[in-house]
């Protein structure tokens, strides 16, 4: 069985690479372009993992995370936050909001893949 992964990011350039890589790794990949779409897709498709960008138009990644954690029906959804905000305060906020892992842009795709595999194992 293939795990379902949602990429939520408003930047097509990073989505292109992540989508390519995850597909090559054999995952089923969904894409959302903003926070609101991401939350809808999560509720509808129940992905195992969300690669969530911190800053998106509409709902920010942090707000999406808060909404997911507030909803008991979405308990099994793991969240990996990808963000350009690298300050301590941002990481604290993400952790507080309930992300499972936090990766600062830019990142190594190999390392990211390793973390994803770990989270889905």
């Amino acid at each position: 069985m293939t795990a379902r992964v949602l990429i939520a990011d408003d930047e097509p350039n990073i989505v292109l690479s992540l989508q390519f890589m995850l597909k090559r790794e054999g995952y089923e990949v969904l894409v959302a372009r903003d926070g609101t779409e991401a939350l809808e897709t999560i509720r509808r498709e129940m992905p195992r993992l969300v690669l969530l960008d911190g800053m998106m138009p509409g709902l920010s990644g942090f707000e999406v995370c808060e909404a997911v954690r507030a909803d008991p029906a979405l308990e099994g959804v793991r969240i990996l936050m990808l963000t350009a905000k690298g300050r301590e305060t941002d990481i604290a906020r993400g952790t507080g909001a309930g992300v499972d892992d936090y990766v600062t842009k830019p990142f190594s795709t190999r390392e990211l893949m390793a973390r994803i595999r770990g989270m889905l194992a």
């Binding site: 930047e11 350039n13 990073i14 292109l16 690479s17 992540l18 390519f20 890589m21 090559r24 800053m55 990808l82 350009a84 905000k85 690298g86 600062t104 842009k105 830019p106 990142f107 190594s108 795709t109 190999r110």
Partner: protein, 719 residues
């Protein structure tokens, strides 16, 4: 008179005493029985018959001699001391009184000499005291003037207040700052903030009293704990949204106790700095985050390209990502550099100056240093629209002189200035044909600044300006140049040019106020007075005539405050009748774009708050103000004085009480007759002349002045 009688008595007394003695002798003779058994009367008669004439002659002689002696004694020992005592008493009162005359005999002479010596000593002491007082006063005045001059030149806004928050002293910067505070969009801008700053005015109009109390509280605690630095520092938002950084330093009270007498406020408008700082920070964060995102896309795309089995379209897709992100990063960086260089300018204090002045100064310095004449190639100083530069002129002039010196005497240096976008090129040129070359490493050479040992490199001087410096060859003109890229001055709306040294202080206000003291009981020269005048479109406020100008000056404790003038044209919202123009000289185009009375009146109300209103024939002006009461809700309900009425009290037998007539009679110069501010000034000077005249009639307090004015003949006429 009494003295003469005493002398007469003294002269007659011996004669009388001798007569009494003779009478007693005669009585004894009468009573004793005679030797011949006859009565004493017979014996007495016999004596009188034989020696009567001789006895009378002797008595007369004795009376005259002893009378003269007694008179002399009385002169010496009674009259002279009494006269000396009177003279001495006078001298004791006033050492300047005439010295005692010596009566010409001792001991009165000795006494007079001693008293005179004491008087002379007292005179000398008094003169010395006077001299010391004069010296001390002169010193105080000098120190005040120095303080005033120093404060005027300070780059920081300084305001000194007493504990009640009334302003005792402020400098030109503070005034300019307060002007800006009202010039902000939500201030009315009327009269340029004159209603906010002024001697004796409350600082609370601008600074929240709660914040000041809080700061004072902290200062008192620190003083009580005997800490070194007792000043308080805080940032606050001024009414018009400006961000002010305030340092509050305590002023000890006069009595030498730990109590405060007032405080000094150092104010800095950090709105601009703060905005620049925030903008810089925000930009930095934005740049970092955007770069992280771009790098993430680039790195991911690069790593995808490592997959060996990509097809061509996938490969093209990742290449497109790389190109896209690299371009985006370049664009972001160049936008940032552009912006940041503007912000960097604030790092060194630069002054705005016309480029022509800078070239002139540089040419003079070069001529002084090297003896070479300098040709000014560009920037005609007389040009109508000169370039304004934002520069550290001193270091630049030194740098140019230094560079000219390094060129040597081989060629005549030229200076030129030209605009290049937001920047200016300042060139020090020489003919390329002269073959002179710039010395290697010239940008790193140190320029001695003035006579001081410290040197700054040419590059550092360029960086101070956020600018650049290079060697350029202008082949078309055949010139080689050292070129400075310098920032142009940015229009900031300009600080108003202020009169050089207005009176910005009144230390008498340090004395505690008399809060419970009714205005009515205050002397006229102990009041705050707003002397004002209005110009109007006509004489009938109920018939639609309107105010077109308000002018006012202030008198504080009997002193006309220079430099605190309210002078504002008003758009009446109606035509100005041609017939009225000769009376006020205000043409319709002058009031165009001026604020309406609804904006001006609040500012004037604030300007006149806590003061007594004064005007000449003021009932007229008051009617115009009162007409606006319903619209603006502003009541001018303070006491009012009329100089026309006061003049009629002070000089009741005059033909005319027109402003210029009284002014001529009292020797008051008339300024700008029939402009509101000019008339207000004349009226104020008039009032200051009237106050002493009224005092001679026993009219001292406000209540007395109002009462006398009401009773005057003119007050009974209806305007």
């Amino acid at each position: 008179m009494r003295a003469r009688r005493r002398l007469l008595l003294a002269a007659l007394a011996p004669g009388a005493a001798l007569a009494v003695w003779l009478a007693l002798l005669a009585a004894v003779l009468l009573l004793l029985p005679g030797q011949d058994g006859g009565g004493g009367g017979a014996a007495l008669a016999a004596v009188l018959a034989s020696h009567g004439a001789a006895i009378f002659a002797l008595w007369a002689l004795g009376a005259a001699v002893f009378g003269w002696l007694a008179r002399q004694a009385a002169l010496r020992y009674l009259l002279a001391p009494a006269q000396l005592a009177e003279g001495a008493a006078l001298l004791a009162e006033d050492a300047g009184a005439p010295l005692l005359p010596e009566p010409g005999h001792d001991p009165a002479d000795a006494l007079a000499r001693a008293v005179n010596r004491l008087a002379m000593d007292a005179r000398a002491t008094h003169a010395e005291k006077e001299r010391m007082v004069a010296e001390a006063s002169r010193k105080v005045a000098q120190e005040r003037d120095q303080l005033g001059a120093l404060m005027a030149e300070l780059q920081q806004s300084v305001v000194v207040c007493n504990l009640e928050g009334r302003i005792l002293l402020y400098n030109a910067r503070a005034r300019a700052l307060f002007h800006r505070l009202t010039a902000a969009p939500n201030g009315s801008g009327a009269a340029g903030g004159a209603e906010l700053i002024g001697l004796g005015r409350p600082i609370h109009a601008v600074l929240d009293p709660a914040l000041i109390d809080h700061a004072l509280e902290g200062v008192r605690h620190r003083i009580a704990r005997d800490e070194g630095a007792v000043s308080a520092r805080f940032v606050m938002t001024a009414p018009a949204g400006h961000l002010l950084q305030v340092i509050l330093a305590p002023v000890p009270s006069h009595d030498g106790t730990a109590a405060l007498g007032g405080y000094v406020l150092l104010l800095d408008d950090i709105t601009q700095d703060h905005a620049t700082q925030s903008r810089r920070d925000r930009r930095l964060i934005e740049l970092t985050e955007a770069s992280r995102r771009s790098l993430a896309s680039i790195r991911a795309a690069l790593e995808m390209l490592d997959y060996p089995d990509l097809d061509q379209s996938e490969r093209d897709g990742f290449h497109a990502v790389l190109r896209d992100e690299v371009n985006a990063m370049s664009a972001r960086l160049s936008a940032l550099t552009e912006d940041a260089s503007q912000d960097l300018l604030s790092r060194w204090p630069l002054q705005d100056m016309p480029g022509g002045d800078l070239l002139g100064a540089a040419a003079r310095q070069i001529a002084a240093d090297t003896g070479q004449e300098v040709e000014i190639l560009g920037a005609d100083p007389a040009s109508p629209d000169p370039l304004w530069l934002s520069v550290d002129s001193f270091s630049l002039v030194q740098a140019l002189a230094f560079l000219a010196g390094r060129l040597g005497p081989g060629a005549t240096p030229g200076l030129r200035l030209a605009q290049a976008g937001n920047w200016a090129h300042l060139d020090l040129c020489w003919p390329t044909a002269s073959g002179i070359a710039a010395p290697a490493g010239w940008q790193a050479e140190g320029v001695p600044l003035g006579g001081s040992a410290s040197t700054v490199t040419l590059r550092e001087i360029a960086e101070r300006h956020g600018g650049e410096l290079w060697l350029e060859h202008d082949r078309a003109a055949g010139l080689s140049c050292f070129r400075f890229l310098l920032p142009l001055a940015v229009e900031t709306g300009g600080e108003q040019v202020l009169p050089p040294r207005p009176e910005y202080y009144d230390f008498d206000l340090f004395a505690p106020g008399q809060p419970g003291h009714a205005l009515d009981d205050r002397p006229l020269d102990g009041l705050t007075l707003t002397v004002f005048d209005t110009e109007t479109t006509g004489l009938d406020p109920t018939g639609g005539d309107e105010i077109i100008q308000i002018g006012a000056v202030r008198i504080l404790n009997g002193r006309l405050i220079q430099g605190e003038v309210f002078d504002q044209l008003v758009d009446p919202g109606r035509a100005i009748p041609e017939a009225s123009i000769p009376f006020h000289g205000i043409r319709p185009e002058m009031v165009r774009g001026q604020p309406r009375i609804g904006q001006v009146l609040p500012a004037f109300h604030a300007f006149a708050q806590d003061s007594v209103l004064v005007g000449h024939n003021v009932a007229f002006d008051m009617r115009f103000l009162q007409m606006k009461q319903a619209d603006t809700g502003l009541r001018f309900d303070q006491p009012v004085l009329d100089t026309l009425l006061l003049a009629s009290v002070a000089q009741p037998r005059q033909q005319s009480y027109a402003l210029e007539e009284i002014a001529a009679r009292l020797g008051v110069p008339v300024t700008a007759r029939h402009s509101a501010a000019g008339d207000a000034l004349t009226t104020a000077r008039l009032l200051l002349k009237l106050i002493p005249l009224l005092r001679q009639q026993g009219i001292v307090t406000l209540a007395e002045a109002r009462e006398a004015a009401e009773k005057s003949y003119y007050a009974r006429l209806k305007y």
